[in-house]
């Protein structure tokens, strides 16, 4: 420590350079998010001006046209489609993901745990278009055998579940790994069974990490496009049952952007803006939940 005063001078400059560099990078990353939001707002402006916000929820249907007066622009069925598909997938994937992490840490023999983790990681690495193709070729015909046409909300939910399961499982895995060993030893010293330890110690201590995984998974499910586009049927309607085809906002943009013009194109940017708002709301909710979780722990 005595020599540190002389080396402080040397270290000071690189430190400053590093700090400035980091600030620049951080500002850049934040600026990109803001730029994209601003770009979306600018591109949506013509539709918002010609249509007003109200028509996006009161129009009889979604049959857009390049001229605002000629088309109808109701986004609500697609908002519902997005919410239903996302909610369904999160409800299925969360227990699966958390249980898979618990299995790895507290129940599986080490070789089995390692193999299981590798499989989950592999699942995370499969490109979304492959999931979509698999869904189209395997899942959709299976669902059609039960209730035609097969391409449906249910197919979307199942594909999304597969896609966000690894995100939630790996985040839960990391959260469980971060639990101090002392807490587990204390639980063992109290003579708690494995089940009691998991319920009483592990899950409360890992709550914040588990929540982060769920939020990340939800974000991925809301924005997922390609796979959902291939298996959901893409009919614009509010789903009455799991077997109804639906169209999500992201799929809508991908389907129609290539050929859209004028107010139609602009209306698609409005759907992008709605997506962004949904993600922002999600982050807001997560931010509010997290300190609470920490306080409880």
């Amino acid at each position: 420590m005595t020599s540190s005063s002389s080396s402080t001078l040397l270290r000071w400059n690189p430190d400053r350079v590093l700090a400035a560099g980091l600030r620049l990078c951080a500002a850049g990353a934040a600026a990109i998010a803001l730029l994209i939001a601003a770009f979306l707002a600018v591109e949506s402006w013509p539709a918002l001006r010609h249509l007003g916000i109200v028509r996006f929820v009161t129009d009889p249907s979604w049959h857009p046209a390049a001229d605002a007066a000629a088309g109808t622009f109701n986004l609500l069925p697609m908002v519902w489609g997005t919410l239903c598909a996302t909610a369904g997938a999160v409800l299925l994937a969360t227990p699966l993901g958390v249980l898979s992490a618990l299995f790895i840490h507290h129940y599986a023999a080490r070789p089995v745990a390692r193999l299981h983790r590798r499989m989950i990681e592999l699942l995370a690495g499969i490109p979304s278009v492959v999931y979509g193709f698999w869904g189209l070729v395997v899942l959709v015909p299976l669902i059609r055998a039960v209730q035609p046409p097969g391409a449906s909300l249910l197919a979307g939910i199942l594909i999304l579940t597969l896609m966000i399961l690894p995100t939630i499982a790996l985040m839960a895995d990391a959260a469980l790994a971060a639990i101090p060993a002392a807490q587990l030893r204390a639980a063992a010293a109290l003579g708690l069974s494995r089940g009691r330890t998991v319920v009483g110690v592990v899950l409360p201590a890992a709550r914040s990490g588990l929540l982060t995984g769920v939020v990340l998974g939800t974000g991925r499910a809301i924005g997922e496009t390609m796979a959902v586009l291939m298996v959901c049927g893409n009919v614009v309607q509010t789903p009455d049952s799991l077997f109804d085809p639906v169209r999500t906002l992201a799929a809508n943009i991908a389907l129609e952007m290539a050929y859209a013009m004028g107010d139609h194109r602009s209306a698609l940017f409005v759907s992008g803006l709605v997506l962004l708002a949904m993600i922002a709301a999600l982050i807001g909710i997560a931010a509010r939940l997290r300190p609470q979780a920490v306080a409880h722990a």
Binding site: W62, T72, P149, L229, V235, P245, L255
Partner: protein
């Protein structure tokens, strides 16, 4: 690393050779380019526009002093702009009408739409009325048109696609009246959906459908009004569910416009025509 350098040199030589080889056909270009400069404004049909935009890019790269500006706004705008001189060339995704005989039309390609079924579906053909009834939800089971006792899965195209526009226009269906079970984006997705579902009916570009059917994808193209759906029948204009893609000028084209129209009708752009699933015409 050392033994790589002769290879690098060879590769370099090949690249240089290739460059020379490429520039050879355009060797007379300089004299040509002296005359070809300026801006070409082309407006009209959103079906033709993507093709003309691609052709325009290639034309610009051949003639660096030329700018091709492609704007969309529908066939009617293409006709009107060409007539009023607002555009050098108009684009129309239909044949010229009799009252438009004052204009000059030049077909650069044809667009055809085939109704497709899964190969396992026993229905051999559908009348126009039956197709309309299926797409508007009046017929919902294959048994009603002589097929198996199964519900029909109606596959429709997303808004804005030219295939949808041609289909709706031919069958005189309003877009909101279509009762679809699956909505797809590009031709490829439509073909996969129908190939994977024995009860599905869909429609895609004839070019894409014929290619897939010929390569073992289990779909079949339905004849329309007794005419086989094939690139050949689209090309000779006998297939009813097809239309010409026209470039339109007011006067007999000259100079830059003429050069562009000639180029757009030449075999040099047939690959672009086929890329967009249109049918190229014999020049």
């Amino acid at each position: 690393m050392a033994h790589e350098s002769p290879w690098m040199r060879l590769a370099l030589a090949l690249v240089v050779l290739a460059l020379f080889a490429c520039s050879e056909p355009s060797a007379p270009a300089p004299t040509h380019a002296d005359r070809l400069h300026g801006k070409l404004v082309i407006t009209g049909s959103s079906t033709v526009a993507p093709l003309v935009a691609e052709i325009g890019k290639r034309f610009e790269s051949l003639h660096p002093d030329v700018r091709v500006d492609v704007q969309t706004g529908g066939s009617s705008r293409g006709i009107a702009d060409a007539r009023q001189g607002l555009a050098d060339i108009g684009m129309a995704s239909r044949a010229l009408k009799s009252e438009e005989s004052d204009l000059h039309g030049f077909a650069i390609a044809r667009d055809g739409v085939a109704v497709i079924l899964n190969a396992a579906n026993p229905v051999p053909a559908l009348t126009d009325d039956q197709v309309v009834a299926i797409y508007t939800g009046r017929i919902t089971r294959w048994s009603e048109v002589g097929g198996a006792d199964a519900p029909i899965t109606v596959v429709n195209k997303a808004e804005g696609r030219s295939t949808l526009e041609l289909f709706l226009h031919y069958f005189k269906i309003e877009s909101p009246a279509v009762k679809a079970h699956v909505v797809i984006g590009d031709n490829e997705q439509g073909i996969k959906t129908v190939a994977g579902n024995p009860d599905a009916i869909g429609y895609v570009s004839v070019g894409a459908a014929e290619y897939s059917a010929a390569h073992g994808v289990p779909i079949k193209l339905l004849p329309m009004k007794g005419v086989v759906a094939a690139i050949a029948t689209v090309k000779d204009g006998s297939f009813p569910l097809s239309r010409p893609l026209n470039l339109v000028t007011k006067a007999e084209p000259a100079g830059l416009a003429q050069a562009f129209i000639d180029y757009a009708r030449s075999p040099a752009v047939h690959d672009l025509v086929e890329q967009l699933y249109f049918v190229a015409l014999e020049s």
